[in-house]
Symmetry: C2
Subunit: 199 residues, 2 copies
């Protein structure tokens, strides 16, 4: 037995959600049809409104429905620190740490093989943002992947030419990790970045 066309379209459409395969999409579709049609209609409306109403902040390039986001407008934040990340999701992750400076969101990382150079990921905009601001330190919080590292080094070089301090987030053992399970590269970073114990 195959699903009727409308149900099949719904199942196919649900598969764009991250982590949702065929089986999960079926379960979601049938469960909404059976138990929560009101919620499903509200979801449809929320999707349409968000996709049409949410753009990017013109200052930090994070997701925002206003021209400049609440975070950029907040006068209580530290104007001397700028944190550079690869995407809007990273802003929410860094916010959890208690960081209270400003942000700049790149469009991913440098990836010459995919044709993504400095312009494509917004590095000229980053430089313009830094020129316009009054930052004493730029924290490069791109991901600790090969591309993320390359992007951080590229930006650090540009900033060094302008006499600005760029810092990189620390690499090492994640809390709760085990030495025998972590990869060699991480452990090497962890040992190279060792710090004296404060007693």
């Amino acid at each position: 037995m195959s699903f009727s066309p409308l149900i099949r379209q719904l199942i196919d459409s649900l598969r764009i959600l991250p982590g949702v395969g065929q089986k999960t999409a079926q379960r979601m579709a049938l469960q909404m049809l059976e138990r929560d049609r009101g919620g499903a209609l509200r979801l449809a409306q929320a999707l349409t409104r968000a996709m049409e109403g949410v753009g990017h902040c013109k200052q930090c390039r994070s997701l925002s429905e206003d021209e400049v986001c609440q975070l950029c407008l907040d006068p209580r934040r530290d104007d001397s620190l700028l944190c550079v990340v690869e995407g809007p999701m990273d802003v929410y992750a860094v916010e959890q740490t208690g960081f209270r400076g400003r942000y700049f969101v790149l469009k991913g990382h440098l990836s010459p093989l995919d044709g993504l150079g400095p312009e494509a990921i917004g590095i000229p905009d980053l430089l313009a943002r830094i020129e316009a601001g009054n930052f004493s330190e730029v924290i490069l919080a791109t991901n600790p992947t090969v591309e993320g590292e390359a992007t951080a080094h590229y930006i650090a070089q540009l900033l060094a030419n302008k006499g600005l301090i760029a810092s990189r987030i620390a690499h090492g053992m994640p809390l709760g990790g085990e030495l025998e399970l972590v990869d060699g590269g991480t452990l090497a970073h962890s040992i190279a970045g060792r710090r004296p114990i404060q007693l």
Copy 2:
């Protein structure tokens, strides 16, 4: 930092999906906003169309956008077998087994404490369907839970009064299961329902 209102509404709405908590909903919302706005708009449309267009087949009560579903209209199916299940999702599960009779979908199971009696779950409609048809056997495929068993027994009693054969799906060890891990009730059913080995 909190999410902007439209993003927050989208995250809240996504939480109606089964198995989606706060973190997953955030990831889904931001990923759609960043990478697949077209897909998200198509999802919104598919949701609206399905919720408004899909009803229940008037014969088997399964989900259908037509008055009578494709399965009930199919002339190649066995008109002597009726399989009774608790919900539309169960129809898709039983279809996978190769069963090719007809179906009747109850609205859940008997649950007197929740005020769900025979009328609420559609047992009078089931009896009417059986009267109208020409079934030689009614397979009661409600779930092997206390409520599912009670529902099956209740229906079997009604059918016995009419001189109709009602059968119950077998309970026992799931394939690939392990005796030392399975619960005592299942194992007891498995032993009580043992069958001679055909050599």
